[in-house]
């Protein structure tokens, strides 16, 4: 069994081995610590000189990485907590994401910024957020989120080795320990990779046609599939789950195709509800000609900061039970 953490760590090892121009920059990334969440463990021992532990300077290190990329290298930046991305927001939006376009396609900026988002660990308001929605509308920026239904390491390594544009790689603290659903771990799920769309469709093995589409990414998709199983076994409600791994640029067709089929859609995200990813997904569907959904809803984090206390935090972020409840409500006659 491979966890998401191991898959990502192995990918970083592979990338550093494969291309001398790959560098890693981040806070506390040196061994034996290997980064706050251990995704970078072992790298500094194996590739000394190409793994730079940095001062606490998120804007600075993202900017340094941009400069390295403009001059032909392929830097990877680890931002210790996703919450700290705001410190680098100017670099990401006004520098990295702009250069290729504003220099009239004369340059490429292949910087990969990896960072864990997400709550449910009691870290409180500034270390628990899911903030990628603030970056999803920035032209020129690719945003990826790995899924256990796909291959997290392959998604990361293809970005590091092949991406032409700056990329935010959104991980999740709890997703790190989830097993990747490769061959033997798929259990009761059938997983279909949807062509070139960076998306996956999950159904429960042997289930009748789905009556409702769930759309979620990252760790939220793991919670959604757990809800799917309960809904199937306890309520005989059959759903299918669409999991995009590329949030920007947004490829709507996998969600659209599924929703067209089922006629009902629930979009689920951990980030705060208002003006989030789900809002954009529903807007795209609303603008689609001859698509008549019977029912569509968003389920998301509350529009409040995230509390440290367990019971308060649970009430703030959408969980498995919330997904089940919402689906049941949507299906009430």
């Amino acid at each position: 069994m491979t966890t998401v953490l191991a898959s990502l760590n192995q990918a970083l090892h592979r990338c550093l081995a494969e291309n001398d121009l790959v560098f890693l920059l981040g806070e506390d990334v040196l061994d034996p610590y290997g980064g706050a969440f251990k995704v970078s463990r072992g790298l500094s021992s194996q590739y000394p000189g190409r793994v730079l532990t940095t001062p606490i300077s998120e804007a600075g290190i993202v900017g340094v990485a941009a400069g390295m990329a403009l001059r032909g290298m392929r830097p990877v930046v680890e931002i210790m907590f996703g919450d700290f991305l705001t410190l680098a927001a100017d670099q990401i939006i006004n520098h990295l994401a702009k250069y290729r376009w504003m220099y009239n396609e004369q340059v490429r900026v292949p910087v990969i910024i990896r960072t864990p988002m997400g709550g449910r660990r009691g870290y409180g308001p500034t270390h628990s957020q899911t903030l990628e929605k603030h970056f999803l509308g920035a032209p020129g920026l690719q945003v990826l989120a790995p899924t256990t239904a796909g291959n997290p390491g392959a998604l990361l390594s293809s970005a590091i080795l092949d991406a032409e544009d700056p990329t935010l790689f959104i991980e999740n603290k709890l997703q790190y320990l989830e097993p990747v659903l490769d061959g033997e771990n798929r259990g009761e799920f059938e997983i279909q990779e949807l062509g070139e769309t960076f998306s996956y469709r999950l159904t429960v093995n042997g289930a009748p046609p789905a009556v409702l589409t769930l759309a979620a990414y990252g760790y939220m998709a793991d919670l959604a599939r757990k809800a799917m199983l309960s809904l199937a076994y306890e309520d005989e409600i059959f759903t299918e789950l669409v999991i995009p791994t590329r949030l920007a640029p947004l490829e709507i067709s996998p969600i659209l195709d599924s929703a067209r089929k089922t006629g009902q859609l629930l979009v689920i995200e951990e980030g705060a509800l208002t003006l989030g990813w789900g809002a954009e997904v529903l807007a795209r569907l609303a603008e689609t000609d001859r698509l008549h959904l019977r029912n569509c809803r968003r389920l998301a984090g509350k529009d409040t900061p995230i509390p440290a206390s367990g019971p308060l935090e649970d009430a703030t972020l959408p969980g498995v039970t919330d997904i089940q409840d919402t689906v049941r409500k949507m299906l009430q006659p």
Binding site: P55, G60, V64, A66, G67, R71, G72, H95, N104
Partner: protein, 320 residues
């Protein structure tokens, strides 16, 4: 100081007779920037330029004194006041006019405008301070790739208010990046005089990070050039980042029509600190007049050509 008479590559055909000496090359370089910028300001009210502009009038000796000694692999990162740096680096005057006019033939096809240029190893961006970590990363890339290139980044006194500058200085020093930080202190940030915006020492900002710094209060290219040469030499010898604090004078407005300084103050600066006037007496008057005429012709030609160039096609844009 005696002036070396080295021939500038590609410049000999500008003048009849003897090849251009260094004093003449410097003069031409400064004069090109001066006339270009004056042409921009004069013509701005005609509505032929998009957006805004930040002219370099009064600071020409900095760009020419420093950038005239770069080698092809060297890298330059400039800021919002980048026209002078771009021209001194060797960028096309026609392409710069065209960029300001939003034409397809502009440096960046009209996408960037005045503050966002890229050509060869020259880059600029309009966000204060944000370019400093990028330039540091570029210098580190050149170091890791062992190209031997030096990187030069230009900051202003106003930029010192941005925190990311200090993040970059810290990393440049920690990792011994081959970079020259040039702080052009024109003593005014948009309309705010330095005493209202910058506390403490300018040089201390660099020395606090163990970055060697030289301070120079001059508008004389003949004084700036050798100091920059020394610092670039240190960088090329692998001695890590270096800094140059240049006290300089901006004669024009921050952008256009937004100068709140008293006109007597500006007249005083123009009388005493004009890099073109300071340097002009070192040239043979006839040669100087010939250069003036050629520069006037070059600028007028570039301007007219750019004005006749086509705008980019929005339909092409939609396809990219």
């Amino acid at each position: 100081m005696s002036i070396k008479t080295t021939q500038a590559p590609g410049k000999a055909d500008h003048l009849e007779g003897a090849p251009e000496n260094q004093a003449e090359t410097w003069y031409r370089g400064m004069k090109r920037i001066r006339v270009f910028e004056e042409t921009v300001l004069e013509n701005f009210p005609r509505g032929i330029f998009f957006g805004t502009t930040h002219t370099y009038i009064g600071q020409e000796a900095n760009a020419v004194g420093i950038l005239s000694q770069l080698t092809p692999p060297d890298v330059v990162f400039s800021n919002h006041r980048c026209h002078g740096h771009f021209l001194a680096y060797g960028g096309s005057m026609h392409a710069l006019f065209a960029e300001l006019m939003g034409r397809a033939t502009g440096v960046c096809g009209g996408r960037g405008g005045s503050q966002h240029l890229h050509w060869r190893n020259f880059y600029s961006n309009g966000i204060q301070g944000g370019i400093v970590p990028t330039a540091t990363g570029m210098a580190l890339a050149e170091k890791f790739r062992q190209t031997g290139a030096a990187t030069v980044v230009f900051l202003g006194d106003g930029t010192l208010g941005e925190g990311v500058v200090y993040e970059a200085l810290n990393m440049a020093s920690l990792w011994q990046a081959p970079i020259l930080f040039v702080l052009e202190n024109n003593r005014i940030a948009q309309t705010t005089p330095i005493n209202l915006a910058v506390a403490g020492s300018l040089t201390g900002r660099f020395s606090a990070f163990n970055i060697p710094v030289i301070e120079l209060d001059s508008s004389d290219v003949q004084e700036i050039h050798p100091v920059a040469q020394t610092l670039l030499g240190e960088i090329r010898h692998g001695n890590g980042p270096q800094a140059l604090v240049l006290h300089t004078c901006r004669f024009g407005p921050h952008s256009k029509g937004d100068d709140t300084r008293r006109s007597e103050e500006l007249e005083q600066l123009r009388r005493t600190r004009d890099p073109v006037l300071i340097h002009a007496p070192r040239l043979d008057p006839e040669r100087r007049a010939a250069i003036d005429a050629e520069v006037a012709q070059e600028v007028a030609g570039a301007f007219t050509r750019a004005l006749a160039d086509p705008y980019p096609n929005p339909l092409d844009e939609a396809r990219t």
